[in-house]
């Protein structure tokens, strides 16, 4: 509990009035001093302000981007609280809808009030929710009691997932059943080709219609359905941002969509976040892996780093041999380009979805000057050519386009 500044002012005015009245023998000054002294005594004699008990309840702790959660703040006052300032402090990326975040209430003794807030979640992320600051004052506002209720819940806002129909497939498959036709023929459902019957083959594989047409015994060759390894490489070293969005926002959404689509095809999917700290999720399959990747994506933040970072730090088990690496990057940091080229040289199949940073850099041309800007664009083109020369497929993705556009472009290029 602390004294308000006005209590000190009252005391000073009262003391000054009384002393000046005594010194100058002016009753009027004594009267003015007493006019401040008596309310001060009254206020100090009253019991100090007591804060109500605050409980925060959130309707859900997991929500999809663009969703909404309801927050209930319950205030139970054991003593009367004539002036209670309630402030709900939300993380920067959450919007409060409707009711104001600051309210001034008066609670009677034993009264319980419930304040409801509707919170919009426009952007993915993991947010501690919600800090509440309570400030109670006594009747004459001479003393103040404050309490900050720290958040106890973490609201996880998952990125929205776009349904992808066609994906860039890895060249190699694993000897595990999946949904992807293998490169070599075997027992499966997917038709591969017709060939002549070889001794020892099963009669049920004979294609009688083709045999009748050609006059020789022909059999159907089929492709077995296999799964493959896909690693999503998320560049968190640099991002182009505007006030409302960034390339990382889009990259995370794309990573969520890609991981969901590959996992739906029963592939093993891993995540490699190339940022300040190298973080990864070992490839796996199934719904649990999808949640694991989604949880890891929520913690993606741009981490500026100036030390050397290369792919030698990546453990071998993160990148299974012959796996497909799908990189999501705005190509703003040369270390990312170098890392991807290294991975390609190590024999991995690398595809890049370039999250186009140019729409976010509208003011950069004016700031850097036309020559610098043009040089930078030429450098980007040169790097792009170098990547293509190394056998890395690259598709550019604008902020207003669906993620399906670059992904299908990569799939068509294969």
């Amino acid at each position: 509990m602390t004294f308000e500044q006005r209590a000190v002012v009252w005391f000073v005015v009262a003391s000054a009035g009384l002393l000046a009245g005594l010194a100058t023998a002016q009753p009027a000054l004594v009267a003015v001093g007493a006019a401040f002294l008596v309310p001060l005594l009254f206020g100090l004699a009253a019991p100090p302000p007591r804060l109500p008990e605050a409980t925060v309840r959130v309707s859900a702790d997991r929500v999809i981007e663009g969703g909404r959660v309801e927050l209930e703040l319950t205030l139970a006052a054991s003593d009367a609280c004539p002036w209670l300032d309630v402030e709900l402090r939300l993380p920067e990326r959450l919007d409060q809808d409707g009711a104001p975040t600051r309210r001034v209430l008066a609670l009677d003794a034993g009264e319980t009030r419930m304040l409801e807030y509707s919170i919009n979640c426009p952007r993915w992320g993991a947010f501690p929710i919600a800090q509440v600051r309570l400030s109670a004052r006594d009747q004459l506002h001479l003393r103040r009691a404050e309490l900050v209720v720290e958040p106890t819940t973490t609201l996880r806002v998952y990125p929205s997932v776009e349904r992808l129909r066609r994906l860039a497939g890895p060249r190699a498959t694993r000897p595990v059943t999946g949904s992807r036709p293998a490169a070599v023929a075997g027992e499966g459902i997917e038709f591969a080709e017709l060939r002549f019957l070889a001794p020892g083959e099963r009669a049920r594989r004979i294609n009688w219609r083709a045999t009748a047409a050609r006059g020789r015994l022909l059999v159907n060759d089929r492709l077995p359905e296999r799964s493959s390894d896909v690693v999503i490489f998320l560049d968190a070293l640099g991002a182009a941002t505007t006030s409302g969005a960034s390339t990382l926002d889009h990259a995370v959404r794309a990573a969520a969509s890609l991981s969901e689509a590959y996992l739906r095809q029963r592939d093993r999917v891993g995540l490699l976040r190339f940022g300040g700290d190298l973080e990864w999720i070992i490839p796996g399959s199934g719904l649990r892996q999808q949640y694991r990747i989604a949880d890891a994506l929520l913690e993606s933040e741009v981490a500026r780093m100036y030390r050397w970072r290369d792919t030698s730090l990546i453990p071998r088990r993160i990148l299974p041999p012959q796996s497909l690496i799908v990189a999501l990057t705005p190509r703003l940091d040369w270390r990312v380009t170098r890392a991807l080229l290294n991975l390609r040289r190590r024999g991995y199949q690398v595809s890049i979805v370039e999250v186009d940073p140019l729409p976010y850099l509208a003011d950069a041309e004016a700031a850097a000057g036309p020559i610098a800007w043009r040089t930078w664009l030429l450098e980007r083109d040169a790097v792009r050519t170098r990547l293509a020369g190394a056998g890395i497929a690259l598709a550019s993705w604008g902020p207003d386009e669906p993620i399906a556009a670059p992904v299908e472009a990569l799939a068509a290029g294969r």
Partner: protein, 129 residues
């Protein structure tokens, strides 16, 4: 009521009261009657309160009606009455002739103690209510 409106209302009231006090000061100067001193002291106190309120709640806050009522009744009215009572008692005490010496001192101390007890009792009672 929004915090901005609350502050504006308090500032407007403070300006109005200040204008009235200023006009009175210009009109009467040092010729103000003695009986008006407690009223003027209470008015000056009220003016300070209104100025303080005009810097009170955050502009983006919502001040609920019970809180406004509490401020009007509990803070402004009660405090102004107390200020008036204090100034009146002080003025009456000053009017007691000084020649009674020791008796006046005893009377003053007793009056101050009684006033203090009264204020304390009223404060506790109002809080319990």
């Amino acid at each position: 009521m929004s915090g901005r409106r609350f502050r504006l209302a308090a500032a407007a009231a403070a300006l109005g009261l200040g204008a009235v006090l200023g006009a009175l000061a210009i009109a009467y100067g040092e010729d103000a009657p003695v009986w008006s001193i407690p009223l003027l002291a209470a008015a000056a106190f009220l003016l300070c309160e209104l100025v303080s309120l005009s810097r009170g709640p955050a502009p983006d806050a919502t001040v609920e009606r019970p809180a406004v009522t509490t401020v009007l009744v509990g803070r402004l009215s009660v405090a102004a009455l107390l200020a008036f009572a204090g100034a009146t008692v002080a003025l009456l005490a000053a009017a007691v002739p000084a020649r009674h010496g020791f008796a006046t001192g005893l009377l003053g101390a007793a009056a101050a103690a009684a006033l203090s007890l009264l204020v304390s009792a009223v404060a506790r009672r109002s809080d319990e209510a």
